[in-house]
């Protein structure tokens, strides 16, 4: 009981106040650890810039500027100049405007698809780790199957099955194809949690499977899932680019991927229209880098706590 001194528990505070203080402290510790890692901070700064741009897109450039029927008056594929800082595309639109609006589309696709992937991956991962019988191995087979199937044909098929191509379809296709990695990771972590005696204790106390998974497994795999999802966002943004590049994207969606696709379509590479090709390319790389840096940092910061707190 003298060990009480290791935790300062002011006697006067109510239990809930103590709980709040604890939570605040633990958040502070987390923030301290995160900001102690230069890589994570750089990632966060890059990401913040892009999010800011994406959010303020309507303030910076009128949506009308993307409407090709309104930009017919502009010269197409014009190099950067005083009016168009990054030049124009084949339809005479300002590349800068398309780029800023594209940040919106790319980020929305990335986040939404990662969310789907996170939910699917976590559910399937925990399920396949927790259930030892038929259900478990079926889920594991499913994961393996999705893992080995080459990504592109799967996407082609899915895109064809889902028919009309819109933002929703792309999000769905990317979400449904990018969960297996998460699922496998979550499964491994679930198995390690399942081996701990506290799961046996929960079973003996009468916890149902659902309770065991939500009360004991989930909180212990969550840090891993969060770190992994951050990495997934990066992958999804890249995949969206691939998709668009393959002509499987939504031609009416102005994402960075579509920009790249159209740029090559318009022969930007051969005509030397670098201002069309480079900006979306660099943006993709920067955002992917930002998410990767954040994800790796989260992994480092959250992982050691898996066992201890």
């Amino acid at each position: 009981m003298r060990r009480a001194s290791t935790v300062t528990t002011p006697r006067k505070l109510s239990p809930y106040a103590i709980a709040r203080t604890r939570r605040k402290k633990s958040l502070q510790r987390f923030a301290q650890a995160f900001f102690g890692q230069p890589a994570g901070v750089i990632g966060l700064v890059i990401l913040s810039v892009f999010v800011l741009l994406a959010v303020s897109a309507p303030l910076l450039f009128d949506r009308e500027m993307l409407d090709i029927t309104k930009t017919l008056g502009n010269e197409s594929l014009e190099p950067p100049n005083g009016d168009f800082w990054l030049g124009t595309d084949e339809n005479g639109r300002s590349i800068l405007a398309v780029l800023v609006w594209g940040a919106r589309a790319s980020l929305v696709v990335g986040l939404a698809a990662s969310l789907i992937s996170m939910v699917l991956g976590t559910l399937i991962g925990i399920g396949s780790g927790h259930y030892t019988g038929l259900a478990g191995s079926a889920l594991q087979r499913l994961t393996d199957w999705f893992l080995v199937i080459p990504f592109i044909p799967l996407v082609v098929v899915l895109a064809a099955v889902l028919g009309q191509r819109g933002l929703g379809t792309i999000v769905l296709v990317l979400g449904v194809t990018s969960w297996p990695g998460t699922a496998r990771l979550v499964r491994a972590q679930t198995l390690s949690v399942e081996g701990r005696p506290y799961l046996e204790r929960a079973k003996v106390l009468g916890d149902s499977d659902w309770q065991q998974m939500t009360k004991h497994v989930l909180p212990n795999v969550m840090p891993l899932v969060i770190a992994n999802t951050t990495l997934t966002v990066a992958i999804v943004i890249l995949s969206e680019t691939t998709l668009a590049f393959l002509g499987l994207g939504d031609p009416f969606l102005d994402s960075w991927g579509t920009m790249l696709d159209k740029a090559t379509g318009a022969g930007a590479a051969s005509t030397g229209a670098w201002w069309y090709l480079l900006p979306p390319g660099i943006c993709v790389i920067l955002v992917v880098l930002a998410f990767t840096l954040i994800g790796r940092t989260l992994e480092v910061v959250l992982n050691p706590r898996l066992g201890s707190e």
Binding site: R3, A4, T6, V7, T9, P15, I18, A19, R22, R196, P197, Y198, E200, R201, A202, K203, V204, L205, G206, D207, S208, Q211, K215, H216, P219, N220, G307, S308, E309
Partner: protein, 340 residues
């Protein structure tokens, strides 16, 4: 001491009965089936403290887990108050409200992300018992965590090893169980803390009339708290009797060896067995202990004219009840009480 013996006696009313229990596991790398339990009989009377001892790998944990319904028997059965265990979800849940398990490693038994309150409230919550916080307070103080409120919001890593085990015990007590099966409850604790936890178990038996089955490899522990002692070797019970009978007058050569290596037993010459418990996928013929048996090796068995039996004649399985018994050809008449 005599009135203690009367507190719990198998004859009175067995709460837990294990009948010819066989539990098998698929052997490692095609090594055939491993018979972790190979015909175990056991009866635990109401209010009794029974210690289950033996080297590691002899099947103690498997027996404890089978009693909780965590392992399904290949044959034989476990009965609670005369009723065979049901293995359906609902039946098991109801059963485990009355029979609880305390595991060896208190640190691993607590979810690192749950507070003390959550850990103890888990049982009552799952079983939708009324007055959750009242139960938690009561269970924690019964387990010697006082004042309970001050510990509610602690995390396991902020507790000492002894306190963690008390919290685990409180978690079991919160369900008001009739039986607690404890698998090596103090083996990971410091010697000085151990005694306090054992005293707690004794006190719980007095106050709550709990029935306790304590798995241990420590004979000193058994001497400290157990009414009866059951010695296991390689999936079978080899000796069974009151603690005094077994420890003051051990019959089975295996029990004698176990007792002789307790460091405090300076008066007896230690009989250090060679090797370790064999793989239960390859159980020796005849008496399963014969490859390591000091009595067999020293020629004592030969002199008694039973060496051939030791090698090849299967011993009868000890029954659940009776006096002091040992499964050894040297010990007269298998199941008959041994004269002192």
């Amino acid at each position: 001491m005599s009135e203690r013996a009367a507190v719990g006696s198998v004859a009175s009313e067995p709460v837990i009965e294990v009948d010819d229990l066989v539990v098998t596991f698929r052997g490692r790398r095609g090594g055939g089936t491993a018979r972790a339990l190979d015909g175990v009989n056991l009866a635990v009377g109401r209010g009794e403290i029974v210690a289950l001892v033996g080297e590691s790998g002899c099947g103690k944990t498997t027996l404890a887990r089978s009693i909780l319904g965590l392992e399904r028997p290949a044959s034989g059965e476990v009965r609670f108050q005369g009723e065979p265990l049901g293995y359906g979800g609902r039946a098991l849940k109801a059963y485990r409200r009355r029979v609880q398990l305390v595991l060896q490693d208190p640190t691993g038994s607590l979810n690192p992300r749950q507070t003390v309150y959550e850990a103890v409230a888990e049982g009552p919550r799952v079983h939708r018992m009324a007055d959750e916080s009242g139960r938690v307070v009561k269970a924690l103080s019964q387990a010697g965590i006082r004042p309970p409120e001050r510990f509610f919001l602690r995390y396991p890593h902020e507790l000492s090893g002894g306190q963690r085990q008390r919290v685990v015990i409180a978690g079991a007590l919160a369900l008001n169980p009739e039986v607690i099966v404890a698998d090596e409850p103090v083996s990971s604790l410091d010697a000085s803390v151990r005694g306090e936890i054992l005293a707690l178990l004794l006190q719980l038996r007095e106050e709550l009339e709990l029935t306790l089955l304590v798995v241990t490899h420590d004979l000193g522990l058994a001497w400290n708290i157990a009414d009866r002692l059951v010695v296991m070797y390689l999936g079978r019970v080899v000796e069974d009797g009151t603690t005094e009978q077994v420890l003051n007058n051990p019959q089975h050569p295996y029990t004698k060896a176990l007792l002789s290596v307790v460091p405090e037993m300076e008066q007896v010459e230690s009989i250090v067995l060679t090797g370790e418990t064999p793989d239960c996928a390859r159980i020796p013929t005849g008496c399963r202990f014969h490859p390591r048996c000091p009595a067999y090796a020293s020629g004592e068995a030969e002199a008694a004219g039973i060496a051939a039996d030791c090698r090849s004649r299967e011993l009868p399985i000890l029954g659940a009840t009776g006096g002091h018994r040992a499964a050894c050809w040297l010990v007269p008449a298998g199941d008959a009480p041994i004269p002192r």
